[in-house]
Every structure is written in C-alpha cells, then in structure tokens.
Amino acid sequence: MEKTFWNIYKTFFKVGTLLLGGGYVILPLLQSELNEKRGWATDDELCEFYALGQSVPGIIAANMSIFVGYKLLGQKGAFAAATGIVTPAFLAIVLIAEILEELIKFHFINSIFWGVGIGVVILVLLAVKEMWNKSVVDKFSFAIFLGAFILSGILKVSPALIIIASAIAGIIYKLKTDKAEGGKEC
C-alpha cells in the first residue's frame, strides 16, 4: 500500500478503533498493521518510537502515532496519523455521551458500569506498577515519588507544578552527582 495521506489516516483510524483499555496495546497493533501487513516500518523502529513516545508528555498512543506518521510522510503523515488515531475515540465518546442519560436508566447497563468501575481501579494500579518499575530506581526517585503523592493527594497542589518542580530537581540532582563522580575520577 502506498504511503499517502489518506492511507496513513485510514491505517491509524483502524488502529484507533482496535485500541481498548489503555494505550499500551498500541505497539503490537502497529507492529501487525504497519510491519506485517504494509511493510511501512520495522519492528525495531516501532519499538524505538514506543520508547520515545513515553519520554514525551501526553498520551503515549498519540505520541507514538505522530512519530510514526512523521517518519512515513513528514508533516502530512504526522497530521494524518494524529487525526486518524483520535477520530474513533472522539466519535465513540460523543455518541455515548449523547445517549448516556438514556443508557443509565437500564439496570443492566448500570451493572456493567458498577463492575467495570472496579476493573478500572485494577487497570490504574497496573499502570502505577508499570511506571514504578521504570521510574523508581533509587532513593532520590523514591523521594520524588513520595513527595508528588503527598503534594497531589493530600495538599491538592497543581500536578503541572509538581511535574515542573520534579524535572528541575532531576536536573539539579543529576548535575551534582555527575560532578561528584567526575571529581572522584580525577
């Protein structure tokens, strides 16, 4: 299949439709659609974009799609991928939100929401665990974890402030320890 704007849009629209329960499944989906079915990108490239997508703020599935789209067709490809991955989510939610009042009148639907509400707690905890494994690697990062938890959960400080402060703390700490280590070598 040719790498045109429309084909890229359609491909990401399809992936967006198949994405359920968190963006983590985007990697295997893109591997199957882009590598196996279309030969547009290799598994290695996709893995690298997946890792990069996590070091950029925002929704990982969207970040990764924009990375891949840009690689396929520059600015045009990035735009096609971003709009393609978002469209199904947007349409689905707008449709459901329109009829939500009607839906929750059904006992059956409410039962599903009741159950899924519990399942969602598990999914968020799994996301916490995944992030913990990748981020809390030493005493300093544990202190940041604890500080962010307390500031946000108890003191209700703005998350944006916490993120900015911890990025600055990371830079200061790393520069200091790098200097200290550098000093030992001399």
Binding site: Y24, G53, I66, A89
Partner: protein
Amino acid sequence: MLIYFQLFLEFFRIGLFSFGGGYATLPFLYHISDVHHWYTPKQLSDMLAISSITPGPVGVNVATFAGFTTSGLLGALIATTSVILPSYFLVIIISKLLEKFKKNKKVQAAIYGLKPAGCGLLTAVALNIFKDNVHSILAFVIFLVLLGMTFKQKRDPLFYLGISAIVGIIAGVFHLI
C-alpha cells in the same frame, strides 16, 4: 466564550505536563474538578469507566468526555484537540533532532526526575478512584480477587475489564448491587 478558552488552556496544560500515558492525565482532570467544578469527581470516575471500554486511547476518550460534559460538542472538540496539540508539536520537533534528544544529559535528567513524580500523581488518583468505585463489601472482595490475579501472571488489561463487566452483570441479575 470564556469557557472555551479555559477549556483550551486546561487541556493544553494536560497535554504538556502529563507523563506516563493516558492514565497520567487523570491527576490533572481531578484537579480541574476541584478548581473549576465543571464536573464532579464521581462523574469523572464514571467517564473513566466508560472510556476504558470504548475504542481509542483512554486519555483521548476521557478528554473528549470531560470536554463534552463541560460544554457539549464544541467543548469535546476543543478538549480533544488541545490535549493532543503539545504532543503534536513536541514530537515533530524531536523527530527533527532525534539523535541530539536521546543523548542530551539535561533532557535525560529531567525525565529521570519527572517520571517518578508522574507515578506518585497516579498513585494518588488510584486512591481517589478506589474511593469512588468500591463502596460495598462485595465490591471490595471482587477488587481483592482481581488484585490477586494480577500477581499470578501478566494478562491483557481487557481481561480485567471483561471479568469485571461480567461480574457486574451477574451481581445485577441477583440484585446484589
């Protein structure tokens, strides 16, 4: 008019500062409900439940939903666009400077600092969602069983959503809710 501008600012901020995927947008969405009262925390946890079983990245779903709840279709469009916009520009810039970005020490140090913060923020959210969704002894027991399953082996998130939906239906049929 003002509400649309506020929506744009809030969701652009989410897109710019949330690290760690769709669920990492939740601390910001809870903060919005505290500050602006566009929706209640309970509404937000319902939106999250629905978003989890709807096609698309959860972060996009829940942004669209929160925008829609705040000010209808246009609100949904603004929220969705503004949450993606920072990613869009950043990814394109990074794509152009890819090698430099990967090796830059300051960038790596900043990421080292803000990742555990993202994790701490999400842990606080997990507690909130737990309080909103697990009210009865039955719900708590189901929660514990599902939690136990996560320790046994790694499963697809869809597995837990499927099981919890089925358990919900059964509980509903027997009028246990």
